[in-house]
Symmetry: C2
């Protein structure tokens, strides 16, 4: 694999690769690959752009727990892992076995909670349904989020992941968002629910449901590395959305369909309220 | 885990869960859970919607190969796995070890190529960079795609995954798309490159780069289950995109930045052309 990466990066062609070029450099750096990567001139061209901080040393901890929603996490992971020099850890209670998402797709952790650095730049919680409620009831998980979050410059989530932040006591007095069907439950944790795609309140950055992870992550990258870096990654991901069917929010979906979906999800706030009895 | 799902689904509350409700039912069905799920009335309410085919028995085979781009696959997986009754398989050469993506995040296959059903409803290839070129050069991988694709009602890809379809001989005379930096390479395989988000030509459905997987998947769901089903899943995923920075295509990105990104990716078509010497 190192050989492959050297081919990508080391040749005369300099910064040479398709989409995940910045990313591959980043992975290489994480794995102890030696700088400089690519030709100095190509490097300087990017580094000289306005609003573009090419290098950094952020430590990102992304929580995995059983029956999380994989897309909540994988979209932000794409953008975070493309920040050159950043270290992105997938953290689970146990390191050596894959963590099943709510749709069956299982992802390998890269480190255990016990191994996770004490100080991280950013802690991230993905959402889910029953799995998220179970995570809210798991002391080791919530203690981990509360501890790293107590010191982290950024406390973040996508979808119902914000409920775990709330359970960990990190949302008191904060404006925040969640999946549309769970947003009001944020009040249980002393937060003010906000119906926006990405909500920033000091060091707390929360995204709305599932697919909001793309917009959330670009907002985080813009904050950490500049708007130019985020624009580069938006182009790399060819993120020019064109949903082929209407909707996307309860307000823009066919009313009959929106009502059925909303009814279907009605019991969830009850489960959250019960779990919130254990909140920090 | 079965216990959890039964709690979600079996109680008086009927179709009761947050986002992945349809999905959880689906996973349950795949795992041998017995229908009917939820109350009959709630069921009927959905089933009676226009353009909404609640049940199906599609067999979806999603290819995993080393250094694929995880987001290319995980977004479509979300939507495919939420089609009730569909079976979604993650297929790799070896079943028992995680497949590393190009950004380090590793996903567990659910079956080996050898185990994959002979007849599938849909074959899907994710993209990548060097990993995709390596996959194009791997006989077992390309033979698998060519074989299942020869009979599948739908042959699909996101990002540079279309190059694997091309290598397998499945794009001859077809209109198709790919990541913007790789689109022209489709000509090597007898295809006509099209600069659109999702391109459908008969049974071939291809999506543009990385994030196009969301739009691609909704288009596929609309085709398989109706526009109403796709709209329901769009709402479930809260897919109301609001990218917080400009761009997303070479044409809409800051020209200096777009030029640098384009230059960075220039060598890729050369690698593809070399690999295409082995095309079917």
């Amino acid at each position: 694999m190192n050989g492959t990466r050297r081919t990508l990066i080391g040749g005369a062609a300099a910064l040479a690769a398709l989409a995940p070029l910045l990313a591959l450099q980043n992975v290489m750096a994480q794995n102890g690959g030696s700088a400089p990567v690519g030709s100095q001139s190509a490097h300087d061209a990017f580094a000289g752009l306005p609003n573009f901080k090419m290098h950094g040393d952020e430590v990102v901890a992304m929580l995995l727990y059983p029956e999380f929603t994989a897309l909540d996490l994988v979209a932000p992971h794409y953008f975070f892992a493309c920040m050159m020099g950043a270290k992105v850890h997938l953290v689970a209670k146990q390191k050596d076995k894959p963590v099943p998402s709510d749709l069956g797709l299982a992802i390998m952790p890269t480190m255990s909670i016990a191994e996770c650095p004490r100080d991280v730049s950013l802690i991230f919680c993905p959402g889910g349904t029953q799995g998220t409620v179970n995570a809210m009831l798991d002391d080791e998980t919530v203690d981990f989020v509360a501890d790293r979050g107590s010191r982290a410059p950024f406390i973040t989530s996508v979808c119902t992941g914000s409920l775990i932040l709330g359970q960990a006591g990190l949302l008191k007095g904060k404006r925040a968002t969640s999946h549309w069907a769970a947003r009001d439950s944020l009040k249980l944790f002393g937060a003010t629910p906000v119906n926006e795609r990405v909500v920033t309140d000091g060091r707390v950055i929360t995204g709305a449901g599932v697919s909001a992870g793309l917009d959330f992550a670009l907002a985080v990258v813009a904050k950490l590395r500049g708007v130019g870096y985020a624009e580069a990654l938006r182009l790399q991901a060819e993120y020019a959305p064109q949903p082929p069917v209407p909707g996307g929010t309860p307000e823009t979906t066919d009313p009959q369909l929106a009502k059925l979906m909303s009814d279907m999800l009605l019991p969830f706030p009850g489960w959250v309220a019960k779990a919130a009895e254990k909140k920090r």
